[in-house]
Amino acid sequence: MVGLITDWLERVNKQTKDSISNMPSWLQAKRQAALVQMQMLNEPTRRLESWRYADLGRLLKAPSAFDSTNYGQQLNVIEGSDPVVIVVDEAGYMGMGDCPDWLEIRSLVDMHAEDWYDATFDQETVVNLANSLLLQTGGLIRIKATDKPVHIQLVYAFDELDEWRYVRNQFDLEAGANVSITEQHQSGRINAVNVYDLDSRVQLNRVQDIHLNSAEQFVSMNYFEVSKGVNVTNMNHHIGGSLQHHVHWVNFNGEGSKYKSGSINKSFDNNQITDIVNVNHNHKNNQSDITHRSIAKDKSQIYNNAKAQVAIGADQSEIEQDLKNILLSSDARIYSKPELEVYADEVIAAHGSTIGALDDTALFYLQSRGVDIEQAREIMIKSFEQEAQIC
C-alpha cells in the first residue's frame, strides 16, 4: 500500500485558504465533489489496467536528485505573433503580447461554470481524479475559425520543480478553426488534464513534447471530443523521466472525422513510460490511425497500447493500430497488445504489434559501408522512430 490517497488528502488540507477562496464557488464545488469521491475510492495499485507496468510508489517519493540546472528541456519562448505563446504558471495563464481576436484565454479562476468540461473519473483513473481535487492552475483557451492556420505554443513555467503541479488545460476549438498547438513542458512533477473540445470541421495539429530528466514525472489524461468533419493529428514524444503516464481518450461524437496519432516513446536508465490510446468509434464513418514506436534501453520499461471500441451501428469505421517496439538491452521491458472491440458489421481494421531488436542485417549493411556499430544503431533507431513521426 503506497499511501497515495492519504497523501493527496493531506495536500488538500495544506493548500492555503487564499488559493482556494480565489476560486469561483462552482469550481470549489467541483473540488468538493472530487474530495467526496476520492474518500470513497481505494488506493491505486498495479491491478489498475493502465498502471500495470508502472511503480505507483514513485509518485509519492520525492525524487532524490532534483537539480534545476539539470533539466533536459529549457524553456524556449518564441517571441512575436507566430506562434502565440501562452505561459502557464502557478497563477494561471499569461499571454505574451497582444491577444489576437481569434483567441480567448481565461485562467481557471475566470472560467465560467458552463464552459467547464466535466471529466468523470473512477477507480481506474483515480490518479487523474487527484487533478480535480488539487487543481491549481490552467484554464480555458478558446480558438475561433480564421482565414489562415494559427499556431499556439503553451509553455509551462513553474518554480520549485520538486512540487507536484496540478494543471488543467481546456482547449475549445470552434467550428472551422485551423490550429497547431505545441505543448512545451518544463516539467518537474506535473499532473495534467488536457481537454480538446473540437467542433465541426476543426483542423488540429497537436504536438506534445515531453523530454524529462531521470527525476522528473509527468502524468497526463488527454480527452479529444471530436465532432463531425474534424481532422486531428497528434504527435507525442515521450522521452525519459522517472515516470511518465499518458492516457488519451478519443470520442468520435459525429461522422466523417479522422484522428491520427504518432507516439515515440524512448526510455533508458530506470525510466518508466506508459502511453495508452483509447478510441471510441461511437458513430459511423470515422477513421483512427495510431502508430507507436517505442525503444527501451538499460533497465527501463514501457507499456504502450492502443484500444479501439466500435459501437453497434458505427459502420464504415476504419481503424489502424501499428505498435512496434525495440528492446536494446536484456533488462529492458516493453508491453504492448493492441485491442479491438468491434460491435459494428462493416469495419476495416488492421492491427499489429511487434517486439524485437534492431535488425542485424541492416546493421551489417551500414557497417559494411564504413559506419561503426554504435552509429549504425543510432541510425537504425532514427529510422525506426520516424515511422511514428506523423507531422
Partner: protein, 246 residues
C-alpha cells in the same frame, strides 16, 4: 591484394566454405560462377565481415593485413566493398545522408578530413551524371520503394561514391533488364583501374559480355573447382553445371 588460403567457414550451423583458395592481384577482375547454394554469397559475406558467417580455418590476407580480424566497418575503411545480393531498406534515412555518413566515417578512420555537405553534394552530383543514375536517387530513403533493378543500381552507385579498392558484386546483374545491365557494367568499367580489383559473382554469362573478366572460377560445394579465362564462362553457359556431378 587479396589472398584467400584454404578458407573454411560456416553460415549459421552449416559448413559452407570448405577449403577455398583464391588470389586476386591489383587491377584484376575475377568472375565467380556456380550453382545455387554453392557458397558464392557466403564467400562475399565472409570477406565483408557478416557476423552470421563464421570462419573456421584458413586465412584471408588483404593488402598485408589479416582481413578476418577486422570489424566490418574497418574493412570498408581499408577499401573492401560488397554490393549486396539483397540490398537492405532503411526507411527514413535518405541516400544522401547515408552515403555522406558512410564516406566520412571511412575518411575519419583513415585520418582524413570529413567532407562538408557542399563538397559532398558536388561530388555525388558529378557521380550521378557519370554513372547515368537518376537525380532523385539522393533524396529517397535508402532502397525503400526501389524496384529490384534500382536497388542493384544503387549498390553500384554507392560503390562509385565510396571508391573501394576491392569491390565484390554479389549477383548485381540478377533481375536487370539489358539497359540496367549496361548501366551497372558501365559503372564497374569506369572504376576499373590498375590498383582496383573486382570479384564479380554472377549466375549468367551475359554480364561478362560487358565486363570482361581476367579470370573465371567455378565455385561448387564450398571450393573453387575450376578456373580459366573468359571462355570458361561461355562453356558454362552452354553446358550448365551438370558435369559437376560426374
Amino acid at each position: 591484394m587479396l589472398k584467400i588460403d584454404h578458407v573454411f567457414a560456416n553460415a549459421g550451423e552449416k559448413e559452407i566454405l570448405k577449403g577455398l583458395s583464391l588470389e586476386v592481384k591489383p587491377g584484376e577482375v575475377h568472375a565467380i560462377m556456380g550453382p545455387n547454394g554453392a557458397g558464392k554469397s557466403t564467400l562475399g559475406n565472409l570477406l565483408a565481415g557478416m557476423p552470421y558467417v563464421e570462419p573456421q580455418g584458413g586465412s584471408v590476407e588483404y593488402m598485408g593485413q589479416d582481413l578476418l580480424s577486422l570489424e566490418p566497418e574497418e574493412r570498408a575503411a581499408v577499401g573492401v566493398f560488397l554490393a549486396f545480393q539483397y540490398p537492405v531498406e532503411i526507411p527514413g534515412v535518405n541516400n544522401m545522408y547515408f552515403l555522406r555518413t558512410a564516406l566520412n566515417a571511412q575518411r575519419k578512420y583513415r585520418g582524413e578530413e570529413p567532407m562538408d555537405s557542399a563538397q559532398f553534394l558536388r561530388m555525388v552530383k558529378q557521380k550521378i551524371k557519370d554513372m547515368n543514375m537518376r537525380d532523385d536517387l539522393l533524396k529517397r530513403p535508402v532502397n525503400v520503394g526501389f524496384s529490384g533493378g534500382e536497388k542493384k543500381r544503387n549498390e553500384v552507385f554507392q560503390m562509385g561514391v565510396l571508391e573501394p579498392k576491392l569491390a565484390i558484386l554479389d549477383e548485381t546483374d540478377s533481375g536487370l533488364d539489358i539497359d540496367a545491365l549496361k548501366i551497372v557494367a558501365d559503372g564497374v568499367n569506369q572504376l576499373r583501374s590498375p590498383d582496383r580489383s573486382f570479384i564479380i559473382i554472377t549466375h549468367y554469362q551475359r554480364l561478362l559480355d560487358y565486363i570482361e573478366p581476367d579470370f573465371v572460377h567455378v565455385l561448387a560445394d564450398g571450393k573453387i573447382v575450376k578456373s580459366g579465362d573468359k571462355n570458361l564462362a561461355l562453356e558454362l553457359e552452354e553446358q550448365g553445371y551438370g558435369w559437376l556431378n560426374n
